[in-house]
Symmetry: D2
Subunit: 150 residues, 4 copies
Amino acid sequence: MGVASGSGMKRNEIPQSAIWTPYRVPYADTDAMGYVYYGNYLTLFERSRNELMRAGGFTYAEMESRGGAMLPVIEAHVDYRKPARYDDAIEIAAWVDEARGFRLKIRNAVFRGDECLATGHTVHVCVDATTRRPVRVPQYILDFNPSAGA
Amino acid sequence: MGVASGSGMKRNEIPQSAIWTPYRVPYADTDAMGYVYYGNYLTLFERSRNELMRAGGFTYAEMESRGGAMLPVIEAHVDYRKPARYDDAIEIAAWVDEARGFRLKIRNAVFRGDECLATGHTVHVCVDATTRRPVRVPQYILDFNPSAGA
Amino acid sequence: MGVASGSGMKRNEIPQSAIWTPYRVPYADTDAMGYVYYGNYLTLFERSRNELMRAGGFTYAEMESRGGAMLPVIEAHVDYRKPARYDDAIEIAAWVDEARGFRLKIRNAVFRGDECLATGHTVHVCVDATTRRPVRVPQYILDFNPSAGA
Amino acid sequence: MGVASGSGMKRNEIPQSAIWTPYRVPYADTDAMGYVYYGNYLTLFERSRNELMRAGGFTYAEMESRGGAMLPVIEAHVDYRKPARYDDAIEIAAWVDEARGFRLKIRNAVFRGDECLATGHTVHVCVDATTRRPVRVPQYILDFNPSAGA
């Protein structure tokens, strides 16, 4: 599902700190309308977050063991611009929009060439893996985020 | 994923016009954190929208043939309150929040007993199935919506 | 995906010990061919296994805590007969085909009314939840299986 | 889900004609057991079939338009050897096992390094996209298959 609405983002509006993840759409992701199912964009967002963290020199898996921190999602939002189809070669951009205290906001945009198919974001709260209580976002995540300040 | 944040909605805050869809969580919906994967809430929302329309005396499938109308999603939003787990018996509420012109906004809430696990909404634009151009939301959808006015 | 091939099973060929699970197909399960995606039948099979166990007076979740046993899948097979479509009201039958030593074989059939859409099976090995080593299928599972003998 | 059973295949047993598709496991693919959900292996198989066809100089999408042919699945089988986990870098091999008349059998194997995690196959029947009746597997698919003979 998904249909044109508004202009979306242009590729040159994506921050330089963004990490781009290439992805080829399988039949599995599509629905009977012939488009990528709207819920599957959240999986695309997750794939790009994983690569964002890997690019930062650590992985989510490592983070869980290292700092004992987890980043459950507390909010997700998607704006659908144009539909993606089976076998499309798309790219998902992810970048840290805000990181302070216990919260981390990551923004995403999905492109097919220069066409912006969707934009969105997720908000995460950093919790201790054992106690599941909120803890400060680890310094190595903040360090990795060019726009987070000191 | 998903963790407590804010208070969510209480069952008695859900409008009377809402339709409730019961659902049993399979392993397929869960992830390695032990919770229902965050993207799968959009599938839960879809299940409840389908039942909302069926309760209105028509189905999405019928609507596509009858009025030649489709309702692609242009926006989706989820606020995650508490995690759902494997084998949980949950219920998803869906109700029409706003229907005017080309747009339809449907709100959702997911409950396990009295606990609100998630809330959210989707915004749809009504398009002609053939031309894929925006058309007014059909009267029989408006009629079905108690809060839409005349 | 899926297309007619062979005759499948007739409803009256399904054993009386089978448990039937009703299911309404959402858009999420379909693909661009307009049919339920072939991989999603394994989720349908799981839903019916869950209800099979619940009907036996225990749930998989309970079993994990009670006997400390888990039933990972070591083999899955599906024969696709006719496609299921969006909004179809289907039923999935599940029954124990064989239970001895460490192994449990469960058979499945998917119907839309009298039409057999798919058949298949899964083979599970019973393992201790802690050691993950094979253990005998618990007696309360064998007891529940009418065809397993003493 | 999935647990060791038998020896699986060794990497050097995979035919040279096989195409290998790399894949990084997201949270979305895992379940509460901490492993890739058993049904998701069929999506992995599909991803590798898509790359198998692309390597043959055509894509499934092109085939549908070019020859007007479709390849719905009539049988799927998976043997699970060892579990895949979140963030694993895995590879899926796909190769044509048999292609004659209306039928095409494709085999798959999933590896993490030298470890064989799963093996399986799908059987497809070639149908005309318009009439949905069986047609011979197109010559350009047979040509692409080194083991299919003249």
